[in-house]
Amino acid sequence: MKAIVRGFKELIKYPSAVAGLAMIALLIILSITAIVRYPYSDAIRLWRGTEQDWKDSPKFAQPAWTNFFRLNKLSETIQLDSSQHPDYKTVDVKSDGSSVIKIALPFTFNTDSYQKDLVVYFKSKFTEKHPFVAVSLRTPDGRNIRLKNLAIGLTETYRISQDKELIQKLGGEVPEVALFQDPESDPPQPLKGDYVLEIEGVTFEPGSDIDAEFIAFGDVSGIAGTDHLRRDLLIPLLWGAPVALLFGLMAAVGTTIISMSIAAVSTWFGGWLDNITQRIVEINMILPFLPILIMVGTFYSRSIGVILGTVIILGIFGSQIKTFRAMFLQTKESPYIEAAKAYGASDTRIIFQYMLPRVIPVLIPQFILLIPSYVFLEASLAILGLGDPVLPTWGKIINDSYANGALYNGWYYWVLEPSVLLMFTGLAFAMVGFALDRIFNPRLRGQ
């Protein structure tokens, strides 16, 4: 314990280590935030969610804060729901039981780019006779554009952007552009100002009701943006941190400790045991690591536990065992080990109390540097399509973005966000690792 405190004090003398530790702390805070804000089951439900879970969020939306750096601001999502705001709605009940329901949804459009998609969701109550609605848009300059008349069911979706008749009426232009244009301007400019979406409904039964929700999807959304399935990227970005850290840490701990112990035991007893271990390592070293993982992922399971297990098993008999063996061979011949043998120390005592402590100083920096390499491995596997099918991870985001041509379409945020986090993780551990290296290998000091 004292040694750990002393080592820590030594470590914080290095500015790079302090920065690295701060970055690791930040990643841990990120992980905790993820778990607190989106508990595991929620995160999984949302990540694997259906259209219904994400109907209110736009596709391919950039992070909202990017507007801060833009001269021409991108549009934000506009969402208005008459069931949430009763004052949008006026109901006029007639004596014959029918009623006229007027819904006015006012919104301000003042960005330089158009909305992406316009949708109206209707909800109604009736027993037999379908209510009837007429949808129109009042523009700031006083025009009133009729959009559509339709009879609605219990739930009805009217996609303004895909209304072919409307497109025809607007002269072949897509509605989200044509409706918000200033007809006087040339070349066409967006017309900024207060718009009102007016819905006039008629119900034919007593107790019938209509509610409307208008969504004009924007180009920016949230602090992380969204992907092709309208999912908020904040969830996988947050959840990627604990998954990556845990994977990296467990893979590093697993491979290092097990391969160190195997190297110590096989070197100590030598003979056929050492021979067999070395041959296994040599065979394992020529086996292609990635194809084996791909095979396991394809034919058996892509669950992160299975992949982690495979990585550890393949990693144990990796090249580090040779490094450890070289160190142990040297230690094994030291006079103090022979002395220990002479005074009757048992094999276990010699291996675990005399040999292992000698390599630990060399091991700790290596071990810290190994963590990000396994984080990258996990991300690479996800990019190759071997990511855990359930968990939201950084690699999965990159995989999705790649599959949807993010770079080709200019959705750089989609690739950059997880990449920056991956680089951040790598940098954090590298800075701590190099500082530790200088502490434990004093020959590197002051050079």
Partner: protein, 321 residues
């Protein structure tokens, strides 16, 4: 102790051969016999490479992997230790009945352990004692060998060569064995420190009633401690004698030459040397192994000489038959 008639250690025909390459056999220890009584110190003398360290290792069964032949009897306190299996040997003999200060003992301390803990280590390994008890025992031993108390919490690299050597000796003593084998305990130390170490050994011998096997090149200083001298040449013991008579007049021609090689203070006699080198133990000559370097060599020397008893002194030479 009234067991002086039965020796503490009885070695009979001890053989330790190493394999070298595919067919080579190094006869490092080739049929060694000698006895050692209680509270007795025997000095094993001989040139480099004549098998002294191998003899020590053969006695304590600290064997390398390339053993060709390991046989004979090592009877310690009436128990034939060669009959014990490795695990029993480790538990019952090493450091319980005999311990060793290895060659280059200064390096035999664990660099990542405090010296005190290192010295206490054998007690914990064998006695199963608690750490406190073991450290208490270690502290006592430090007092015996003259290491000041404050050194107990230091690491080996913080100690001088002499202090490390003393610590190694303390480690050999800590379990109070009957026999301690010291393999060149004073090599690589300066003369003053050597004298100090020998004084420590002398005091220990008187205070702790321990027997010693002292392997050394240093004939002059060892003469102070020795009760008995065994001269080793080419894997065999050529002379075993009580120290008084040996240092007065050695019998074997090799021993004579060895004694003559010791420089004497203010004497006009030049130190003598022995022509040639000891024979290779890979293929030792038949007959007397010293024959080709011996000035008194005659016909009989081409046969193996018997061991003759001359008034309690054992000598392996045709001259005394």
């Amino acid at each position: 102790m009234a067991k002086n008639d039965t020796p503490l250690l009885k070695i009979e025909d001890l053989v330790l051969h190493f394999k070298v390459g595919k067919t080579g056999v190094v006869r490092a220890v080739d049929g060694v016999n000698f006895n050692l009584g209680f509270k007795e110190a025997v000095v094993v003398l001989g040139e480099s490479g004549c098998g002294k360290t191998s003899l020590a290792k053969a006695i304590l069964r600290l064997l390398p992997k390339n053993i060709e032949r390991y046989s004979g009897k090592v009877i310690l306190n009436g128990v034939d230790t060669m009959a014990l299996d490795d695990e029993a040997y480790r538990k019952e003999v090493r450091w319980v009945k005999m311990s060793m200060v290895p060659q280059a003992a200064m390096n035999s301390l664990n660099p990542v352990m405090k010296v005190g803990e290192q010295v206490a280590e054998p007690v914990m390994v064998h006695g199963g004692a608690s750490k406190e008890d073991a450290l208490k025992q270690a502290r006592k031993m430090f007092a015996h060998v003259g290491v000041p108390d404050q050194f107990i919490d230091r690491y080996a690299f913080e100690l001088s060569g002499g202090m490390r050597q003393r610590s190694a000796i303390a480690m050999a003593l800590v379990t109070a064995p009957d026999l301690i084998i010291l393999d060149e305990p004073t090599s690589a130390l300066d003369v003053l420190t050597q004298a100090n170490i020998f004084n420590v050994l002398k005091r220990i011998k008187n205070e702790l009633e321990t027997s010693f096997i002292l392997i050394t090149h240093d004939i002059a200083t060892s003469s102070e401690l020795a009760d008995k001298v065994a001269v080793m040449y080419a894997g065999q013991i050529v002379e075993v004698s009580d120290a008084d008579r040996f240092f007065h007049e050695p019998l074997h021609p090799y021993a004579k030459k060895l004694m003559a090689s010791v420089p004497k203070l203010r004497a006009t006699v030049e130190p003598d040397f022995i022509v040639g080198q000891p024979p290779s133990l890979l293929d030792p000559p038949k007959g007397c192994r010293f024959a080709e370097r011996c000035s008194k060599c005659f016909d009989l020397c081409k046969d193996e000489p018997p061991v003759e008893d001359r008034d309690g002194r054992l000598v392996k030479c045709w001259l005394y038959v």
